[in-house]
Amino acid sequence: MSRPYSDDELLAVLLSREVRDREVTACGAISMIPAAGMLLARETHAPDADLIILGSTAFMPFHTSRQFHFLCQRGDLGLFFLSGVQIDRFGNYNLHLLGKDVDRPEVRFPGGYGGGMIFYAARRTVMFRTEHTLRCFVPKVDFISSCGNSPEEVRRFGRLTRVHTPLATLVNTVPPGELRLGSVHPPYTLDDVVQRTGFDLGVSGEPPRTPEPTAEELRVLRQVVRRIMIETDTYGDWAAKNIQAA
């Protein structure tokens, strides 16, 4: 599918639009696309956003993980970006393993305590996935690393709000606490998304089309954000390769 921007660039733009000015936004380690999106937001509509890019040195204000942990627990984290190997209908994600037998998994992933905590503590969590396929968007994840929606009596500051992929944006709709189709990214169609999603997206009628990256968003991403990432060694190698040079 040919577009004048790559999937990575599209996702960076979509994530940047989630960032609010004067809010604390964070992403975990090995999070190149969110890092690009956060920097794009800061260079466009959110100049006073506080950015925490875990694993970087330039955008990491803390010296121990304890400080970040309690920032989250206090409710001071506005937005967190997260990905998952599998994501299911109920907004659960899996970063632990694949296979039906937890003790003999077919594949094991890094797992993680942090995401499972932040999924509750961040005011909003936005997920992204670089592929939109049946193996990723499953009816039920093999292992629940954290759950998208929890009972009322469980203390929680926030939850999953949206999931962005190269094809579409899904919205965590509460109630009933299920992912529904929000919009489709041109030139993909509703049928493309339905065919590649392993659960019912609750679609009725033609869904909205996602506003495409603007010329200005792409210009800042390619001219400014790319340079910042290279100069600050914030996934500089990735930026040089995956964000088109202006």
């Binding site: 121990t64 993980s65 627990q73 632990h96 499972g116 999924f119 509750y120 929890s150 009596e153 469980v154």
Partner: protein, 182 residues
Amino acid sequence: MGVPYVPVMGLVGSDLLRRRDDMKVLPDPFEPTKKTVVAKALRPDIAMFHARRADRAGNVDIGIHNDDVILAEASRHVIVTVEEVVDSLSFKDAKGTFLPGLSVEAVVHAPFGAHPSGCVGAYPVDKAHMQRYMEAARSDEAFAAYVAEVVFGVASHAEYLARFVPAEWQNGSAAARKTRSA
């Protein structure tokens, strides 16, 4: 922190919680209609980690691996291996986070002690060795052979350095080390 347990908001409903007996979901004692996770403190008997520099009193310049401080505070005994032992080190001398000697039981001079992992500022991850490790880890037989050769097959630290740490790292400049990792 040294407290017996801590409340944690999050994780409820995850399969992780189902498989752990050191985390429970309990009512908040001050607001019983709300529930949170309570996590039991981890108190390791022994913590061992590698750092850049330490002095003879056990003061350690942790560098960027700051969470080693949390590990040291939680553990009953702390052993730190270092690239370099200096005569004295205070928090003003540290280039990274400082761990006071009162938490440290033993310092061991072990150059390239992080190998095949890296030590920030000294040498990078040995990617060629890591690749070999990953391949060995695919089967029990290959892993046993790896351990027999790399761990139990060496008589001394000097022999390990001679056989497994790239010679150019041991004599060469930081630039030469960086080139190999690229």
